[in-house]
């Protein structure tokens, strides 16, 4: 029964959006003016409401996985504890600032947690990429054959064309970089995108008709 409910709801939701996209906005039938977009606001509200239990599931999952690690003192439990503490401090200060209309709590959240910690820690983590990329490029960009040489020449040209120095060495470097991007890279990207979108379309149709193994069938168990 549950499986059929999932199949029917999925199909009807698909029909609504499919019809809304292809049919005229207003359909007049026997004096009744049916407008497709009149339900959009309600659908958006449903989507918003559905996000809440999804977030709740995420919190429960984090509590289960990392709470277990802390309680059993498993390897790396200190990291799990740090995660749980950070999650609760952020949650409490957010709720306190919002519901209590407390300026100090809101400021603590914005100043210390967001600007002071999250901003800097997130940026620091991502900046490690710069170090790894240079090291990885040095190790892997070795011209072993013609194709590798071609790829390296194109990469160096795009890189030089992107930075101002390339422009000041010769105005032709950015032109060459644009040529590589627009005449070689873009068509290749389009080809990949076409393939991916056709596959996505096929997948969407399978999901819509509940032919996909993971979507509706799991719901019946």
């Amino acid at each position: 029964m549950r499986r059929w409910l999932v199949i029917i709801v999925t199909f009807l939701a698909g029909v609504y959006f499919f019809a809304e996209f292809f049919l005229p906005k207003h359909i007049v039938l026997g004096g009744t003016d049916f407008m497709w977009s009149r339900y959009d606001s309600r659908i958006l509200d449903i989507v918003r409401v559905m996000f809440v239990p999804a977030m709740l599931l995420g919190i429960i999952n984090i509590l289960r996985v990392h709470g277990f690690m802390v309680l059993r003192r498993r390897k790396g439990w200190v990291n799990s504890l740090a995660l749980l503490v950070a999650m609760f401090v952020t949650m409490i200060s957010g709720f306190w600032g919002y519901f209590g209309e407390n300026e100090a709590a809101a400021s603590f959240f914005q100043q210390f947690l967001f600007r002071g910690m999250m901003n800097n820690l997130g940026s620091a983590m991502f900046s490690l990429l710069a170090f790894y990329i240079v090291s990885a490029a040095y190790r892997s960009f070795r011209v072993q054959n013609f194709e590798a040489g071609l790829m390296m020449a194109a990469a160096l040209m795009v890189m030089l064309g992107q930075i101002p120095l390339g422009f000041f060495i010769s105005e032709k470097i950015p032109v060459l970089r644009n040529w590589i991007l627009t005449r070689i890279s873009t068509p290749a990207f389009r080809g990949i995108n076409f393939g991916a979108l056709i596959a996505g379309l096929a997948m969407a149709v399978r999901m819509w008709l509940s032919l996909e193994r993971g979507s509706a069938r799991a719901g019946g168990r």
Binding site: D40, V47, M118, R139, P164, L165
Partner: protein
């Protein structure tokens, strides 16, 4: 006993030395801000700049002719601390330009990390300008859930989709959005993100029966090839290509800035110089590695021949 291959060190530079050189290269522009390089005048950034100038001209013409002008610019800051170094100066440059030209705008984000930037960037810049007020000149909608559903509904009914701003003010009470009903009332929408698929969401779904607004895009350097696809097919009218795009945009602003207006931030130029030096270092290391490969191959051939 065979003589040691003197070129082999080029193939085996310790990664800790590589890291040290990268650190030094990135620190140079921060330690010596006077050593920053002038950005290249990127045509893709100029297109976006010219569009904002066109909006200001259209507004001025409408006001001069006594016609109402209710259009706004919409900006979506879908980035977090990870890509802040490239995208924050970009968002700052665009908002500075809008404030300079007194064009009304709204900011929002689809990612929770972006909410802080929606708050910080316009508020900090508004303090630099004397006559820019929250609500009258700009509004912040903060983090909004729904992505494609939200954008689709915004296209037809902005008030119904966005409901309230970040302070809880109902849409109908926000002064700068008076008369802004759907996507047809948005003069320009600009998506600033390093995430793939976000600009496409606006292109696909942000339209009303009346019109589809022009869409601009600011992306990280790594997603430029993807964004060029949209620029080439004219799905977006302009593109800020990574930090170089932000620095170029600031240069365009400097060209039109009057004496009484605050100067642009040097942040974009400093970050761009750091990136430039790091790119040059990368090129240098790649070349060193390949010189090592060639010298080793020559030596092997010589040994085999003897």
């Amino acid at each position: 006993m065979a003589k040691a291959d003197r070129s082999s060190w080029l193939l085996r530079i310790d990664r800790r030395f590589v890291y040290l050189f990268v650190l030094l290269a990135l620190m140079i522009p921060f330690l010596f801000p006077g050593l920053t390089t002038k950005p290249a005048p990127l045509p893709s950034a100029k297109k976006l700049f010219d569009k904002v100038e066109r909006i200001a001209r259209e507004r001025d013409e409408a006001v001069a002719e006594g016609r109402p002008y209710n259009k706004v610019v919409l900006l979506s800051f879908d980035f977090g601390p990870q890509t802040r170094a490239e995208l924050y100066p970009m968002a700052e440059a665009m908002i500075r330009h809008l404030m300079m030209r007194k064009i009304k705008f709204a900011v929002m984000t689809h990612v929770p990390d972006g909410a802080g930037y929606c708050e910080d960037i316009p508020n900090q810049l508004a303090r630099e300008f004397d006559d820019i007020d929250y609500g009258r000149d700009y509004v912040n909608f903060g983090y909004k859930v729904g992505r494609t559903f939200l954008i689709k509904q915004m296209g037809e009914d902005m008030a119904g989709a966005l409901k309230t701003d970040v302070k809880g003010t109902p849409y109908k009470d926000i002064k700068c959005l008076k008369g802004v009903q759907d996507a047809g009332d948005v003069a320009l929408m600009t998506e600033i993100t390093g995430l793939v698929g976000f600009a496409e969401m606006w292109i696909q779904f942000f339209a009303s029966a009346r019109a589809r607004p022009d869409i601009g895009h600011g992306c990280t350097s790594v997603s430029i090839p993807d964004a060029f696809d949209m620029l080439e097919s004219k799905l977006i009218i302009g593109l800020l290509e990574g930090i170089a795009g932000a620095a170029a945009y600031n240069e365009f602003i400097e060209e039109i800035r009057s004496e009484d207006q605050p100067p642009t931030s040097p942040k974009a130029r400093v970050h761009m110089t750091g990136q430039t030096v790091a790119h040059l270092l990368l090129v240098l290391f790649v070349l060193l590695g390949n010189v090592g490969v060639i010298m080793s191959a020559l030596r092997r051939r010589k040994v085999a021949g003897s």
